[in-house]
Symmetry: C2
Subunit: 86 residues, 2 copies
């Protein structure tokens, strides 16, 4: 576990914030906080919630997109990947 599942970012420790946040967001997906094929909060919202720069939020999201956890629809939002819609 290289992140705090409760959701606070440690700006001092050895794990970079973008990886902590990726872990936190992945945990929220796993916990069902956000449902498949539904948008997660906007980048601006995550900036406010976690106290990091937008570039850091975007980098975290990029990690999860790469892992197949999320997908991004430009100008729409970032979504939780789930089974194909019928």
């Amino acid at each position: 576990m290289d992140f705090d599942p409760d959701g606070s970012i440690d700006h001092a420790g050895p794990v970079p914030p973008y990886r902590q946040l990726a872990g936190i967001l992945a945990a929220r997906v796993g916990r069902g906080d956000w449902q498949p094929n539904r948008a997660i909060p906007s980048e601006a919202h995550l900036v406010q919630e976690y106290g990091v720069a937008r570039a850091t939020v975007r980098r975290s999201i990029a990690v999860l997109v790469d892992q197949g956890v999320l997908f991004v629809v430009p100008q729409r939002g970032t979504y939780v990947k789930g089974p194909a819609l019928p």
Copy 2:
């Protein structure tokens, strides 16, 4: 062709600079400007040469790493991918 092979970045056109630069760098590799398993110029050098921000250079490099054209050795440099060394 969505970039200028001669190497100038168009900051006005529809193709984002990071993709133009990725194309330019790939062309230089293809042309043999830089040899396999040899370092390309540093990020700072490319910033100077092409008049873009370092973030843009890094993004261009990331594209080419993703395409298998380059690879990065942290704290050492960015290299042209080539056949495995004997």
